[in-house]
């Protein structure tokens, strides 16, 4: 038997473990590069008295997929309901092949799902756009749940601001632009899921659910903020101008430019704009959304 380095073993093992299972949840007979998986397994795993090298590797292959698929289903329960569990499972495998776990924490696993789904819409069939919106909201919830929280601006800091000042937003504040007004739908599906889980005691993940029947939803540009208050996540509808001002602040534009970016999209008469802007900033300051910029980041970007 030839010797291989630890790094080679780790790479072989990772590649084998991350290879999708067969439809019957078994390890594939062939590795992605065409080699026999039996030979791959035997190259770095010894058999024991009960299991072959293949069978021993298969355990880890299954554990990886059960674990990552479970984590994704846990973070996107409304998406699973909207497209149906069978489509969701197929979508999850497709997504995880493109974006396998790369982090020490499964918390980050679904970070690319919404954008990936925009170019892989066949998994969601006729509900593709709706599904992307639902995925965006559910990921925003994950980010808002444990995103960092900085000190909001103080009165002393506000006293130094002018139109050229740079501001920052709370890291846990997520700005979400949607094609459909699906926020209430997602909230209701989460409540429903929670109720079912409570009533059933144990959730049966293997149930094969078709896409849920949904009330008719018409396209309507919708702007949301998902954020955290006292360890709970909330979402708040924003109007268009409000959303664009916040987005400009997050993009690092100076305060004067950020205000202009928002009010010009707000579709209100010029005379009413100052009042509107005052209301926005009052509400954001009350919620602690506006912070001083990260000076290190500003220096790095200049």
């Amino acid at each position: 038997m030839s010797t291989i380095s630890l790094e080679q073993i780790q790479r072989e093992m990772a590649a084998a473990v991350m290879t999708p299972l067969t439809p019957d949840d078994n390890m594939r007979k062939e590795a992605p590069d065409g080699r026999s998986m039996e030979r791959v397994a035997a190259s770095f795993i010894a058999p024991n008295s009960r299991l072959t090298s293949f069978e021993r590797l298969e355990i880890y292959n299954r554990q990886y997929w059960y674990r990552v698929l479970g984590a994704l289903a846990e973070d996107f329960p409304a998406l699973r309901t909207v497209i149906g569990s069978r489509a969701f499972d197929a979508m999850s495998v497709g997504y995880l092949k493109a974006h396998p776990s790369r982090s020490f924490t499964l918390r980050n696993l679904g970070g690319q799902l919404a954008s990936w789904l925009t170019t892989n819409q066949h998994f969601a069939a006729r509900r593709a756009d709706l599904a992307v919106d639902v995925a965006r909201i559910e990921w925003a919830f994950v980010e808002a749940f444990d995103g960092a929280e900085h000190e909001p601006l103080t009165l002393e800091q506000i006293a130094t601001l002018d139109g050229g000042s740079y501001l920052a937003l709370q890291p846990h504040l997520q700005l979400v632009e949607l094609t459909y007004p699906v926020d209430d739908l997602v909230l209701n599906l989460h409540k429903q899921e929670k109720r079912q889980a409570t009533e059933a005691g144990v959730k049966h993940d293997e149930d094969d659910h078709a896409p849920a029947k949904l009330p008719p939803i018409r396209r309507k540009p919708t702007y949301l903020a998902a954020h955290r208050v006292d360890y709970s996540v909330y979402y708040l509808r924003l109007n268009r101008g409000e959303f664009h001002t916040l987005r400009a602040i997050r993009a690092g534009r100076p305060l004067g430019e950020a205000i202009e970016a928002g009010v010009t999209t707000a579709r209100v008469p010029a005379a009413r704009r100052p009042q509107l802007v005052r209301q926005w900033f009052t509400a954001w300051a009350e919620l602690g959304w506006i912070c001083a910029p990260d000076l290190d980041r500003l220096v790095r970007s200049t």
Binding site: A46, N48, L51, E55, I59, R62, Q63, R67, G70, A71, E74, T105, L106, R107, N108, A144, F145, D146, G147, A148, P152, L153, T154, L155, I158, L161, D162, P171, H172, D183, K191, K194, A197, A226, H227, V229, D230, Y231, S232, V233, Y234, Y235, L255, G256, I259, E260, V263, A270, R273, P274, V277, R278, W280, F281, T282, W284, A285, E286, L287, I290
Partner: protein, 98 residues
Amino acid sequence: MKNQLNAMLLTAALSGLIGGTTVAHAATTSASKTTVKAAKAGLQYVNGDKPAKHSCKGKNDCKGQGGCKSSDNGCKAKNSCKGKGGCATDGSKMPKAV
């Protein structure tokens, strides 16, 4: 004219920031802090009593750090190796730390 309007908008933004920050600061010293802020926060995404699927959900000791899912019982009831002894290398015991 445009400059004048922009100055008015900036003044409005700054007075809004001052007003909101003052209210938020006053609320931190009031007993009703949570209620006031939560009332303006929008709709709660999940109920506060949601069962903790992740070990740290609801406890927030991971707040701001990420990393909730690394230590929960994700493989509970899914141990396909249970009873077969395939998990440890050749059934050997874990080496003891010296």
